[in-house]
């Protein structure tokens, strides 16, 4: 697989072209803005947290394919999940992204399990080999983190 195909996997391109959960939520849903000052990407995460569950999430904003796909994949992964589950996915995702430049050893059962548990999100694992693009992939997640803290 070429570098580019490893970065821009089909799932990523699909979520970029057809982003899920695009749009806004009216108050009392929370609204959190995230910026990547290096490239000018910006997005807004709207969260409806009811009884400790993310009942609804919507995202608006503009950015590169990686940041847009990552935010779309994230919205699917966290919608309907409890806050504890969301925090666990957040931690796993950020961990996957901080393996900068290191090739994840997929023969290690532990890594395989983590990636499998991430489901479609694992498609973003290729981004970790492109250090400057990690910020693109993590923008939505950091904004979600911030939104949860404010909630």
């Amino acid at each position: 697989m070429s570098n580019l195909e490893n970065l821009y996997k089909e799932i990523i391109l699909d979520h970029y072209r057809t982003p899920r959960n695009r749009g806004e939520l009216p108050p009392p849903a929370s609204k959190t803005e995230g910026f990547n000052p290096l490239c000018g990407d910006e997005l807004t995460v709207y969260l409806d947290v009811t009884d400790g569950v993310i009942a609804d999430i919507k995202i608006t904003g503009q950015g590169c394919s990686i940041s847009q796909a990552s935010s779309s994949l994230m919205s699917v992964a966290v919608k309907g999940r409890t806050l504890d589950e969301v925090r666990e996915v957040l931690a796993k995702f950020k961990n996957m992204m901080t393996l900068e430049g290191e090739v994840v050893d997929l023969t290690d059962p532990l890594n395989r399990d983590v990636l499998r548990s991430l489901g479609e999100l694992a498609a973003l694992q290729g981004v970790s080999k492109f250090p400057v693009r990690i910020k693109c992939a993590t923008l939505a997640w950091n904004t979600l983190s911030q939104g949860l803290e404010e909630n």
């Binding site: 070429s2 570098n3 580019l4 970065l7 821009y8 391109l13 970029y16 072209r17 290096l38 490239c39 000018g40 990407d41 910006e42 503009q62 950015g63 590169c64 394919s65 990686i66 492109f130 693009r133 693109c136």
Partner: protein, 411 residues
């Protein structure tokens, strides 16, 4: 054809021997930083190997050599710019941004009062915006903007109105985003008629167009060495010696003083007053070599070479992509330099740059430190390709190939 041989220039640039992802490097990011020729690298190397000593202090031979080399660079820069007052008005800084901070925080603090106006333009780099905003924290200053029109040029319709009450016109000679070359000379004359001083950001132009400070008749000029084939870590601030001598010190410390006592200090005069601490000696030596190299090529020849590449690239971009790739900058026939900001419909500049990197093409995605300008044209970012004296039409070939790939890939 150009009046110098860009293929020969390439042989002088070691960085162009790199192979990136299996392809020879295609360097199209000279707007961000130019690649130094061997003579620059070797001058710095020789300095460190054989002549290194601190300047302006020792009496031994190598210390004298280091001082001569450092001051020789100042002399070379002054001649290169045809600076009125010669080397006396040349201050070495870290980069163009520091030069702007010197302007705002020394001249600005001493001369700008509540109600005064600094006129800049919408196409300025953050380096010529933020220091003025910072100054506003202590002085009730108006920062006024010359608008940019839909042809990506300065809208000078109301220039007389805009210049009213202006103490300083601070303007880029060439936009680092649009490539627009501004009519600096005529605007300087007009600004002077309104009693304003004129500062010019020459970062984008200094390595690409001839500069003659006597002819331009401006009052300040600033640029970075690494945008004119020199090293990073050195910039130039130039002003008329009479203005310089009336400016208060900026950074304090060793080297910039005439006397220090228990009850205070007396600053040195002239450029020395603004060069606190051990200066960037090796970088000055490198900059001197860069000046010699550019003089060898001839700035008018470089300008013609840039123009030829730019006209060719614009026409091929328009032909091949039929509007899908929009050039955010003036048309080919306008006054413009070799900076091509591209907006590809449906593909984000970051993704463009990533696909281009795959075939070894270096362009810059982003807002290019000019966010007000980007916002004006409703763009978060562009992918910018920019030429240097070592660029060839084959670099444009690689750019077009990469753009086609990106468009195919992202659909």
């Amino acid at each position: 054809m150009s009046y110098f041989n860009a293929v020969r220039v390439r042989e002088d640039i070691p960085a162009l021997t790199r192979i990136i992802n299996g392809r020879p490097i295609t360097y199209l990011d000279s707007g961000a930083s130019t690649l130094p020729p061997r003579s620059v690298i070797e001058a710095m190397d020789t300095y460190y190997r054989l002549r290194h000593a601190n300047v302006h202090r020792g009496v031994y031979q190598t210390a004298n050599e280091a001082t001569d080399a450092y001051e020789g660079a100042r002399e070379a820069v002054a001649q290169f710019l045809n600076a009125p007052g010669g080397a006396e008005g040349v201050v070495f800084t870290k980069n163009c941004t520091e030069s702007f901070n010197l302007l705002a925080k020394s001249w600005g603090v001493a001369n700008l009062r509540d109600g005064d106006v600094v006129l800049i333009s919408e196409m300025e780099h953050h380096a010529n915006i933020v220091p003025w905003f910072q100054l506003r924290e202590s002085v009730d200053l108006e920062v006024r903007f010359i608008p940019v029109d839909d042809n990506f040029e300065l809208d000078l319709t109301n220039i007389d109105e805009l210049l009213r009450g202006v103490k300083l016109l601070s303007l880029t000679a060439m936009s680092n985003v649009l490539g627009t070359i501004n009519p600096v000379k005529s605007l300087a004359r007009l600004a002077h008629e309104h009693g304003a001083l004129v500062a010019i950001d020459a970062s984008q132009s200094v390595g690409h167009l001839p500069i003659d400070l006597v002819d331009l008749d401006v009052d300040f000029m600033m640029f970075s060495g690494h945008k004119m084939l020199g090293p990073t870590g050195i910039g130039v601030f130039w002003t008329r010696p009479e203005i310089l001598n009336a400016m208060p010190p900026f950074l304090g410390g060793g080297g910039m003083i005439a006397d220090v006592r228990l009850d205070g200090y007396t600053p040195a005069t002239g450029f020395t007053r603004f060069e606190a601490g051990t200066p960037m000696i090796a970088e000055a030596v490198g900059l001197h070599a860069a000046v010699r190299y550019l003089e060898g090529l001839g700035m008018a020849n470089i300008e013609a070479h840039d123009r030829e590449l730019t006209v060719d690239a614009i026409s091929r971009l328009n032909d091949q992509f039929d509007g899908r790739v929009r050039i955010i900058g003036p048309a080919a026939h306008a006054e413009r330099g070799g900076v091509l900001s591209l907006d590809v419909e449906g593909v984000h500049p970051h993704d463009i740059a990533q696909v281009l990197d795959e075939i070894g093409v270096c362009v810059r995605p982003g807002h290019h430190c000019a966010k007000p300008l980007m916002k004006k044209f409703n763009l978060a970012a562009t992918a910018r390709a920019s030429f240097g004296p070592y660029s060839l039409p084959s670099d444009t070939d690689a750019l077009l190939e990469g753009l086609q790939r990106a468009i195919t890939f992202f659909g």
